[in-house]
């Protein structure tokens, strides 16, 4: 689906220094029954966020008013496990536009870009610096600059560049998606398919 384009994002961030956050935690399977892409944000991290009686768990970061923002910062191997794109929808629907980690699972990274979330992979050291900066001052902002491919911690000025291929970058900057691209080359695909 078309999504908002992405250029430079300046925002506070929500820290989640847990490793191997899997997509079953991001959105548990029992919330995959919708047939439309709506309302998934309410169930983002459902079982970490709410107890058995649907009461918010005070110790979970999304329930802590100290932290907010459009950037989610996770530990290593973020988004492992199930291929459910619902995980990316939930993160987007909740209001995040960017996820930062020192390592992403493959399918999640692809799904994120396909729905308009920018996955920013940084070094483990830089990730540590981000967590430190937020711990020191929860209001400290991150600047994610897609055209320049850099991420900067405002409070310390520390900056690192990140990788993204030119094609995906172009799509994100313009809010285009792969389906637009593929529709434009259908005759080439039809010709290829004859021999397969």
């Amino acid at each position: 689906m078309a999504y908002d384009s992405f250029s430079v994002l300046t925002s506070t961030a929500v820290p989640m220094p847990i490793e191997n956050v899997d997509t079953d935690q991001i959105i548990p399977a029992r919330f995959l029954k919708a047939t439309e892409r709506k309302g998934f944000g309410d169930n983002l991290f459902r079982d970490w966020r709410y107890d058995k009686n649907d009461q918010p768990k005070a110790d979970f970061v999304l329930n802590n008013p100290t932290y907010s923002g459009k950037i989610l910062v996770g530990g290593k191997n973020f988004g492992s496990g199930s291929s459910r794109e619902h995980a990316a929808w939930a993160i987007y629907d909740y209001g995040f536009r960017c996820v930062v980690s020192s390592f992403f699972a493959d399918i999640f990274r692809g799904n994120a870009i396909n729905v308009g979330i920018l996955p920013v992979q940084v070094s483990p050291e830089f990730l540590h610096q981000i967590f430190e900066a937020i711990e020191k001052d929860p209001k400290s902002e991150l600047v994610v600059d897609l055209p320049a491919q850099t991420i900067t911690i405002s409070s310390t000025g520390a900056s690192e560049s990140f990788a993204i291929n030119g094609y995906k970058k172009h799509n994100l900057l313009n809010g285009f998606d792969d389906i637009d691209y593929l529709q434009a080359m259908k005759s080439e695909i039809a010709a290829f398919a004859v021999n397969r």
């Binding site: 047939t35 291929s83 794109e85 030119g166 094609y167 389906i179 695909i189």
Partner: protein, 467 residues
């Protein structure tokens, strides 16, 4: 010959690239596409919104499996949301002319079980599905991997996806497996060694004696679990075992077509001297029956061992402590003897006939432990029929087990088959994440043999004592 040596993966990948985008992904052609009720509705909705259709409906196959009940399948599905997803799968398939095997259809079953058993999965194919365990089909020498819903929409509308070519890894396991060591144990062993992110960015080829001597069903179990080490998929070069499995299946090539295809399939192997970005070798003799103790599939160990200390494992200490706390286990605990409340045999990892034969080999002549609730769920109706024909059902019934109807069931617990909070389940499925088998459930992943031993003793037990 100027051609440089190629890997199996290169041969299949390169022959499916329609266009290479500079500083971008490859436009990659998909031969076969499987869909199910959970990850397809939004994709069909996307087609409607854009006003585009399905380009090659004959290349897509639909089956209902993820949220289906495993009892009373002849009755209407009670859960309204599940019923709606199943209805949409049927309506969308009919509308676009896609083969649909709904609930009750003799071909119905888990997508990764029915593809191979009906001859849809073939060597050299590219296969995708909105389910990460699509890697299963790599057992046939296909490139098969899971995709997200946006990509399901891409494949429906253009039969292509946009993918950068992954790096290549070869995992060799040589030697002979010990008694009671199954393909599931081989896979859990590799994942424990590599961790759940150890193969991220790679496509794996499995090679060596162990895989060459493995049955097709065993190969499917191994390839199925490739995703749990972070790999996009895994594959095994097709050989006589593969060809014998495929020949005669309903939708497999026949006659002259078979001969042509077979000649091509025989070329699908890694050339001598072809290079991999990474190569790892293990020794079969080092592998024992495995079990997991934590909340990701990489947290596995030989069943006779003790839970590792945080200082001995890679990764964050806090994450490790959180995981053991969830499981109610402590560092250095022995796993043998731990209480088991539930046993689940089934899923696309271990829901094929060989898995039930293995399970039956231990429960035969014994009784299910009274306090254990067991869910015995075939991967498909064809498997269910085999269980009955081979007399396995009688063995199960005599031992106090009930055979349920096919579906994903407690693998992801989208239907009623949920492990209650705090309870321990020995499960032959593929994921032990927090809440995977129901909110608060605690999962111990293992082989059908370990599951059987736990079912009859009621505690974690080394199956080798029964063999």
């Amino acid at each position: 010959m100027s051609n440089s040596p190629k890997t199996l993966f290169d041969k299949v990948w390169d022959s499916h690239v329609i266009r290479k985008i500079e500083d971008g992904p490859d436009v990659f052609f998909i031969d076969r596409h499987f869909i199910h009720e959970v990850t397809s509705p939004v994709a069909f909705l996307g087609l409607e919104t854009r006003g585009i259709g399905v380009m090659f409906p004959e290349r897509t196959f639909a089956t209902a499996d993820h949220n289906t009940p495993t009892i009373n399948q002849h009755l209407p599905v009670e859960d309204a949301l599940s019923a709606n997803q199943l209805k949409q799968l049927a309506t969308n398939s009919a509308k676009y002319g896609i083969s649909h095997w709904g609930l009750g259809d003799p071909k119905n079953g888990i997508v990764h079980v029915v593809g191979p058993e009906n001859g849809i999965t073939l060597p050299g194919f590219t296969i995708v599905c909105g389910d990460s365990h699509t890697s299963t089909h790599g057992a046939f020498g296909a490139i098969a991997f899971g995709i997200g819903t946006s990509e399901v929409e891409m494949v429906l509308s253009s039969q292509c996806i946009m993918q950068p070519k992954p790096k290549k890894m070869r995992i060799n396991v040589n030697g002979v497996l010990g008694k009671g060591v199954t393909p599931k144990d081989v896979a859990l062993y590799i994942i424990a060694k590599l961790s759940t992110s150890g193969a991220t960015g790679y496509f794996v080829e499995y090679a060596g004696d162990v895989f060459e001597n493995m049955t097709m069903e065993g190969r499917m179990t191994v390839c199925n679990l490739s995703i749990e080490m972070g790999a996009r998929g895994g594959m095994i070069a097709p050989d006589q075992t593969t060809f014998d499995y495929i020949e005669g299946r309903e939708l497999a090539p026949k006659g002259a077509d078979w001969d042509t295809q077979l000649a091509y399939w025989k070329t699908l192997k890694t050339d001598a001297g072809a290079s991999f970005d990474e190569e790892i070798t293990f020794n079969a003799a080092d592998i024992e029956p495995m079990i997991t103790y934590g909340t990701n599939p990489g947290m596995g160990m030989g069943i006779s061992k003790h839970i590792p200390k945080a200082t001995d494992v890679e990764g964050g200490v806090a994450t490790y402590a959180k995981s053991l706390d969830y499981m109610g286990f402590s560092e250095d605990d022995a796993m043998i003897g731990k209480q088991v409340d539930y046993v689940f045999i089934g899923s696309c990892t271990n829901g094929r006939i060989e898995d039930f034969r293995a399970f039956a080999s231990i429960v035969k002549g014994r009784k299910k432990a009274d306090h254990v609730t067991a869910w015995v769920v075939p991967g498909s109706h064809i498997v269910e029929a085999q269980i009955k024909e081979e007399g396995i059902l009688d063995i199960l019934t005599e031992a106090g087990f009930v055979l349920r109807q096919p579906g994903c069931s407690a693998c992801l617990a989208m239907n009623d088959d949920k492990i209650p909070a705090g309870k321990y389940a020995v499960s032959t499925s593929n994921r032990n994440f927090e809440g995977r088998q129901g909110p608060g459930s605690r999962t111990l992943l293992a082989s059908p043999l370990v599951a059987a031993a736990a079912a009859v003793t009621g505690v974690v037990t080394d199956p080798r004592q029964f063999l």
